[in-house]
Symmetry: none
Subunit: 207 residues, 4 copies
DNA sequence: GATGAATGAGTTTTCATTCAT
DNA sequence: TATGAATGAAAACTCATTCAT
């Protein structure tokens, strides 16, 4: 509206875009090589600029990882919260959560790999305290869901819930390490297959 | 010949012991913090010596990782080969392989974590070519086993074998990240539970 | 000639004003933090602009220091030269010089601090040769004055003139580090007190 | 006594010596060029080693400044405290404090210059909080002494004590900027001359 | 006049490694 | 066997400066 408004908007939008672009590049390399093993220069090279120039956009290497992870987790929890709010049965909820997780892997594969591989060390620094919080919420969500499912008869009565929680959590997220968007299997198909294996196992049905 | 012969022998044994001890310390820190994020000084500190002193025992940081990984893989394959040589049915073989894997996790947890997290990057260097070989053998073993199981009717006919291979591989090895020797569940018990989940899933049996 | 002539004039005046304003800001920060420890960005922030924008006004960081110092020294010497031209007795001249110095501190405190702290290093570069010239003139002026005062009986006969020169010089200029314009004591009052201490010391008069 | 005792001692002594030596070199360059304008490489060059090697001895550039300043201040206060404990009259105490200050300048000239030029900025960081404490104690000591002297009739009744405190403080410490150990005037002689100027001024005695 | 994005040279710092003792 | 002191290469980061818009 104001004559300067469009400028301000386009500028701020452009900056946001550039940041996102650079973070995408960084996330890819962090995921591929590991955070500690990646140098700022490698990221800058991939972005077509000099190492120092990255510091115009970001405070530090750590703040890049921070932004990658927090952005990813925010989006992830939005999708999880939507599912939980739907208040479906245990089985359907589990199904939706797993599908959402594979959708997240599809959309943010490098961020997932980074989270998977580095969150343990990063969480030691106060700046990354939210990683621990997220982990707790995650555990509570799954354990709660599994316990409800056992009560409701959706899951086996003799399920070791804490163990099953880890089983599912690991199994799903580690898939980010090999999942290739655009490969033989789409995220949806992998999700469906994994769901079947998790629910019914790999043995033939006795029925 | 030398009057110190007996001494020399005992020294050499002691040296072997010391190496193993140091490698155990190194593996623990590598696993905890990541290989690239761990400094030689941290390892030396934990061993109660100065950084330079480690070089009396080892050529380089890389050679420590090398020795940790190759020792672990050698042992692992010995146990796998024994199982494969027994020529049991697909289901029993899978059962034994998973049990052996958890036994390995129990005995070499840091090495497993190191393998899990770093083998991808390390394998790029020729020195670690054996990592790739092991990975291939591993995949062939599992894919072969699963295909045989499908043929024999031990596993579901509609199993996506490559996917199931990854499912099992990831699920088992990632457990090293949280498994605590001496915790609530022994390696054997975790193996049994995981086996049930892998074979039958988490749903109640329709039977 | 040009139809924008009047504009151009007012613009040029405005430019001069803006320069002076920016130099004032820069001088303040240089004085507070030290020249080397101050970044162009800090100056720009304080001026409400971006670092690059300062380069529209000034060639370089060095040229800012240059302009701050040369402006200050030019004014200072004008006031000194007026005093020297009056050809008064040694005591009265000293009195006037000290008063003028405190007036300069009052008017150009940051410039004085900058001169005090940085002239030694800056003077190494040819661009700042005038700092050395000023220093020499300064010394000659004071040593000459003190020697004359000793000859005329205005100052103690046993005065170590080079030492007294430094004593006075340091004592006066270093006051810039704590003098606060608008504080308890005006520049005039500080000058008077300092003059008394320099002339008569802090002991009571035996008279 | 113990066979390893001599080794341990000589080692630790050697390290202390080396540290002190390096700190002396660093202090000299810091004083000459300013702390911020001095690079670690310059210090290392002067010490005949590579920049990185300095980090075997010191954590950071800042910690070098820290150690230089704290060592100096500790020694300075030891000498001041000895004087204050003697409980002499105001004039004699002032005399002794000024002499002690010039002795400190003689022994630790670079540290004094560093303190003089950089303590204001450094004191902003919590690590250098002791600089502010020292400054307060310093002011209290001098103000107390001057007030006592005025009461006892040792100093002029109309003395502006806070101003006189600054006058003396600055006058003495700034001398570190030009004082050359081994020059025309020894520290003792400078102290004596300064003391005369401070007590009696530069005018001839009316007596 | 000012911005936003970059450069490039330099800074502090890190760290695997070496080596005389 | 281990220490203490260093090396040297590379890391993260800084900052004065440039320039198209």
């Amino acid at each position: 509206m104001s004559p300067r408004r469009r400028d301000a908007d386009s500028t701020s939008t452009a900056r946001t875009h550039r940041r996102a672009e650079l973070l995408g590049i960084a996330a890819g390399i962090f995921a591929e090589q590991g955070y500690a093993a990646t140098t700022i220069r490698e990221v800058a090279d991939a972005a077509g600029m000099l190492a120092g120039s990255l510091y115009y956009h970001f405070d530090s290497k750590e703040s890049m990882a921070d932004e990658i992870l927090s952005t990813f987790l925010t989006e992830l929890w939005e999708s999880y919260d939507r599912i939980l709010a739907a208040n479906k049965g245990a089985r359907e909820t589990l199904e939706a959560l797993i599908a959402a997780s594979f959708t997240a892997i599809d959309a943010h594969r490098p961020a997932v790999v980074l989270y998977q591989n580095e969150s343990k060390h990063l969480a030691l620094s106060p700046r990354f305290a939210y990683l621990n919080e997220s982990r707790s919420r995650f555990r509570d969500m799954w354990v709660g869901l599994l316990e409800r499912g056992v009560r409701e008869g959706a899951f086996r009565a003799d399920l070791d819930v804490p163990l099953a929680y880890r089983f599912i959590r690991d199994t799903v997220w580690v898939a980010a390490n090999w999942y290739a968007p655009g490969g033989r299997l789409s995220a949806d198909m992998v999700a469906k297959q994994y769901l079947t294996m998790i629910l019914e196992g790999i043995q033939p049905h006795p029925s």
